[in-house]
């Protein structure tokens, strides 16, 4: 049931991403609500749900925005391994900082990948322009939104979970 709810929430987030997010742009970029949903799902739920919902998010967003679902899947792919790495490498960061770092890094990678796809399609882009007009404002916007979501969730009593899979992988905690 929780998995089904997570999938429905992911599809809703994809609809939100193409319907509502573009209405509230800041510095020329829109927040990545879909990625935020996946990150929050991982940080407060379980990695298993994010493992299923990441491809669902890619297909839903791809269909709605007429983008390549495969490209979106690759864009969101670092989320789980990066979260796992930050935990496993015992980087001295608290749960919020780890979540924020995962969101910012995955968001930067996703936006970079989308820009590269545009460049392949004929767009002109310079590294400086991409950094100043895409990566930095996007990361700032995503982190601001995460802070707005994270604090209320903790106040509601949601406890931060680890992003590591137990031994046995996906089936270990089912």
């Amino acid at each position: 049931m929780k998995m089904f709810s997570a999938i429905v929430a992911t599809v809703f987030a994809a609809i939100w991403q193409v319907t509502v997010a573009p209405l509230f742009p800041a510095w020329g970029v829109t927040f990545d609500f879909l990625l935020l949903t996946l990150v929050v799902m991982t940080a407060f739920g379980s990695p298993q749900r994010a493992m299923v919902c990441t491809p669902v998010a890619a297909v839903a967003y791809g269909f709605l925005a007429n983008r390549e679902p495969g490209l979106i899947l690759l864009a969101y792919l670092p989320l789980l391994p990066l979260g796992f790495y930050l935990e496993g490498a015992r980087v001295p960061l608290n749960h919020y900082a780890r979540t924020a770092l995962v969101l910012a890094a995955t968001g930067a990678w996703a936006r970079l990948l989308f820009v590269l796809a545009s460049v392949v399609g004929g767009a002109d882009a310079t590294p400086g322009l991409v950094l100043v007009h895409v990566i930095l404002p996007g990361a700032f916007l995503d982190l601001a939104l995460l802070s707005m979501v994270y604090v209320p969730l903790r106040l509601l009593g949601w406890s931060g979970q680890g992003m590591s899979l137990s031994r046995g992988g996906y089936y270990s905690s089912l």
Binding site: I15, L23, T30, L64, G70, Y85, A123
Partner: protein, 275 residues
């Protein structure tokens, strides 16, 4: 590598799935599923649009700045209409002077047919500007058809069609290129989308002045000739420059448009140019 431990099979599966999706998308296997998905999700989109568009509108029109913006919107519409009328008159004057080919094109414009559509959502980023409209193949929409504003200014081109909706790449998308010319002088070049959803007039030679009207040139068969695009906003460069840097102010506020017209009488030639 530590980063892939325990996730390695998942990462490998996802890369495989991404490749499969890319291949399936290329051969068109996903299109029927996409059509069904869009049909299922459209009621939710309508509700979200109904709720949040007014909120966004209220926020953007807040306070005194909002009043000025309203007035600006109204003046822009009037201005666009007047510019388009001037453009049409100048076009007609040129035709009357003896350009028989152009005359025949103008006569052809009398059979122009449009389908009105609402923009239901958009995929906007600094490098991408694609909107989805609520008309599809069931309404006679085909890939390549030209999309204009309600006042007739060029907005983009249909890139994909499902049964009930279509995707339109706007001219401000960085992958969009339109062959264009300065009205009156005939200086031609290409109008390209720039990052942050702007427009530039590239590869244009000749005497280009701020305020000059830019219309489609019709070269390449991707767009009909004479559609208004916008006006020259800035011209930078010296007389020594082969090409000056020209920015274009669109004739319509593309980012906030809610309704568009799809020109159904114009089927582009498949030359792979000017699109």
């Amino acid at each position: 590598m530590l980063i892939f431990q325990r996730y390695q099979w998942w990462v490998a599966s996802m890369i495989g799935l991404a490749l499969f999706l890319a291949l399936a998308g290329q051969v068109g296997v996903l299109s029927p599923f996409q059509g069904v998905f869009l049909r299922i999700t459209s009621p939710v989109e309508s509700v979200l649009n109904g709720v949040f568009r007014p909120v966004a509108s209220v926020l953007s029109n807040a306070g005194e700045i909002g009043d000025l913006r309203d007035e600006n919107d109204r003046l822009r519409l009037e201005n666009e209409e007047l510019r388009n009328q001037v453009g049409e008159l100048q076009q007609n004057a040129e035709d009357i002077k003896g350009l028989r080919d152009a005359l025949s094109l103008t006569q052809g414009d009398q059979s122009v047919q449009y389908v009105a559509a609402d923009i239901v959502h958009r995929d906007a980023s600094p490098f991408t500007d694609v909107v989805t409209i609520n008309r599809g193949s069931g309404d006679g929409i085909q890939v390549g058809m030209v999309v204009v504003s309600t006042k007739g200014t060029l907005m983009g081109k249909v890139t994909k069609v499902t049964a009930t909706s279509s995707f339109v790449r706007l001219i401000t998308d960085t992958q969009s290129t339109v062959s264009a010319e300065i009205l009156g002088t005939g200086a031609d070049g290409s109008v390209k989308g720039t990052p942050n959803r702007g427009l530039a007039f590239e590869l244009a030679q000749g005497d280009i002045q701020v305020g000059d009207q830019i219309v489609t040139a019709g070269l390449g068969g991707g767009y009909p000739r004479g559609l208004p695009i916008g006006r020259v906003a800035t011209v930078t460069g010296t007389s020594q420059d082969l090409y000056k840097k020209v920015t274009v102010e669109p004739g319509v506020r593309i980012g906030t448009a809610e309704n568009v017209l799809v020109r159904t009488d114009f089927i582009p030639e498949s030359l792979g140019l000017g699109d």
